[in-house]
């Protein structure tokens, strides 16, 4: 792909920086008689903003002239928490990033911490992380597509999607003990192995899922004239704009950039699995929908392969400075007791180093810049939430859009404010 020309990049910038509410009339009355423009406040708790996103729209009739997103309503200071609590105690907080796929966030943060020190997981732990993370992706995309359909007015798809998601919640409960806030991974391993019979029932579920997706989602939507009319040509993001704004995930691939971190810089052994990366053509809302539906099916393929060749063995690294030793040896040996005490109270100590790691999460690239200073707590744990960067292109895509299309465009970007605001 070609780099955006400087001129093109600067054009993009112009549409972005124009301020909303420039004139005194606009500020005090929300209406500017000179231009006839009106100010419209959308959110922070509008059903289509999927959380607490506020958008300030300057309207010319039904057309959007400028827009200014206002984020931060859900800011909880996650990065500060990570610096104070350390790696393992931070994992429950990661459940609250993209809370539609908490297990994928757990996997990403643990892998990021391991990458700094080059901790190599046992093969079984890697494969289980892949299975869990793809289940998370299925769950997030089901909700993404379902809520998308509901925003456009197709209620039944939403209900079908939630039926499937219910099964995934049940698997999460069996695997981790919690349906929603799973906190499943640990630095250097997993909190627990799969329960008996779990893999078989996941296999049955995933086996039939592509068929059900075709029947319950695609047949209802993909060729539905209302759906196509509402979405095609709406919210077009050209390739160079998508790259310039740092879009990732289905939003980037919908714009025709073939980039998936699972393929391009594989982690957790993703290179062993055979799967396709769907790419859109036009970069509109319809393409982003198609990409998501196809990714659902590809995740099923990955899970089936991972279950088929799931190796036996430990799920933790055999280093008791990182992972808890067996309880039996803690009760009988002094050294193991000390290790257990240190791992729990101080956290697993990682040597000094810095590294950026990005994981391909359902919404895009969940990146962590971990700067370790040799203690159990990171000096800096930067979280790059994909929803944050994906939303930063809103002033571009919403410009000149119709008010009724805002709902479609927002839903097609499929963001989660927990991850945007962190």
């Amino acid at each position: 792909m070609t780099p955006p020309e400087s001129a093109a990049a600067e054009n993009v910038l112009e549409t972005r920086t124009a301020p909303v509410a420039a004139t005194p009339d606009m500020v005090s009355r929300g209406f500017d008689p000179a231009s006839g423009h009106m100010l419209l406040n959308m959110g922070p708790s509008h059903p289509s903003t999927h959380g607490v996103l506020r958008i300030l729209l300057e309207m010319d009739g039904e057309k959007i002239v400028r827009c200014e997103p206002d984020v931060g309503y859900l800011h909880r200071g996650m990065e500060k928490v990570a610096e104070v609590y350390g790696y393992n105690k931070f994992i429950p907080y990661t459940d609250r990033f993209d809370y539609l796929a908490p297990i994928s966030n757990n996997v990403a943060v643990a892998t990021a911490a391991e990458k700094v020190c080059g901790i190599e997981l046992p093969p079984r732990a890697k494969a289980l992380r892949v299975i869990a993370s793809e289940l998370g992706r299925i769950s997030a995309h089901l909700l993404g597509v379902g809520a998308f359909a509901m925003d456009i007015g197709a209620m039944s798809v939403f209900l079908y999607c939630f039926r499937e998601r219910e099964s995934i919640y049940n698997y999460m409960e069996a695997l981790t003990g919690a349906r929603f806030t799973v906190s499943w991974t640990r630095v250097g391993g997993l909190s627990r192995d799969v329960p008996p019979g779990w893999l078989d029932s996941v296999k049955r579920f995933v086996d039939g899922l592509p068929k059900r997706v075709e029947r319950d989602i695609e047949e209802l939507l993909t060729t539905n004239p209302i759906w196509v009319d509402r979405l095609s040509g709406v919210g077009v993001i050209p390739k160079d704009v998508a790259v310039g704004y740092g879009l990732t995930g289905p939003a980037l691939r919908g714009s025709g950039v073939e980039w998936d971190l699972r393929k391009e810089s594989p982690y957790l052994g993703y290179e062993q699995y055979d799967f396709d990366v769907p790419v859109g053509e036009h970069g509109d809302a319809y393409d982003r929908y198609l990409v998501r539906v196809e990714e659902l099916k590809q995740s099923c393929r990955i899970i089936l392969q991972a279950i088929a060749k799931l190796p036996d063995g430990p799920i933790d690294v055999q280093d008791h400075k990182l992972r808890l030793p067996q309880k039996r040896s803690v009760l009988t040996s002094m050294e193991e007791l000390i290790h257990q005490f240190m791992v729990v109270s101080e956290g697993p100590e990682l040597a000094t180093g810095e590294r950026y790691f990005g994981a391909e999460n359902p919404k895009g690239e969940l990146g962590f810049y971990v700067a370790s200073d040799g203690t159990g707590k990171p000096r800096r744990m930067r979280v790059r939430g994909p929803s944050f960067t994906n939303l930063s292109c809103l002033p571009y895509v919403l410009k000149d859009a119709m008010l009724a299309d805002v709902v479609a465009i927002l839903a097609s970007l499929d963001f989660v404010m927990g991850e945007c605001d962190r």
Binding site: G72, K115, G118, V243, V257, G353, G367, Y369, R379
Partner: protein, 191 residues
Amino acid sequence: MSEPLQVIVDPAAAGTPASAPPAAVALLRERHGDGVRALMENRGQFRVLVERGQAAEAIRFLRDDPRLRFTFLVDVTAIDFHPATPRFRVTWVLRSYHTKETLVLQADVPEDDPSVPSMTHLFPGADWLERECFDMFGIRFTGHPDLRRILLPDVFPGHPLRKDYPMAGIMTDQEWAEHIVSRAQREEGHD
């Protein structure tokens, strides 16, 4: 062309086989000479420490050079090394879809003048990332068209990701409520 730079390997990656620095590093040195201060490595991921005055030029070069094409600004952040000096290290993570490389560029920033050039004229996506970095660390990105807080409210005191900012905040809930109310009254002209 000056001497090849010594690669500083992270202690966390000590003992791992050394990898060759990517072509971008040699090209950067060729252009910026001593502006490239140091080169650090963690298992194949290289971090280039540049003079902060040359950061914009270096990133523009990395983006536009046809051999490199680092067209994707993945992340902008900072690390606070308080109480060491220079205090901050601003970090840009760049990626090339062309060579599939990820390169980290860093620049040291002192506490008394925490400013670096903005990259918004190169990457529109830098806008929000720089605003967040300003919000959290108080780093000023010179040339940013609209540098104001993004996640925290405008009235928030201080920059919470600085190491000297306490976890519990610097105001009690009561003080915080009074702070907001008095500010709102001032703005409405009741004061």
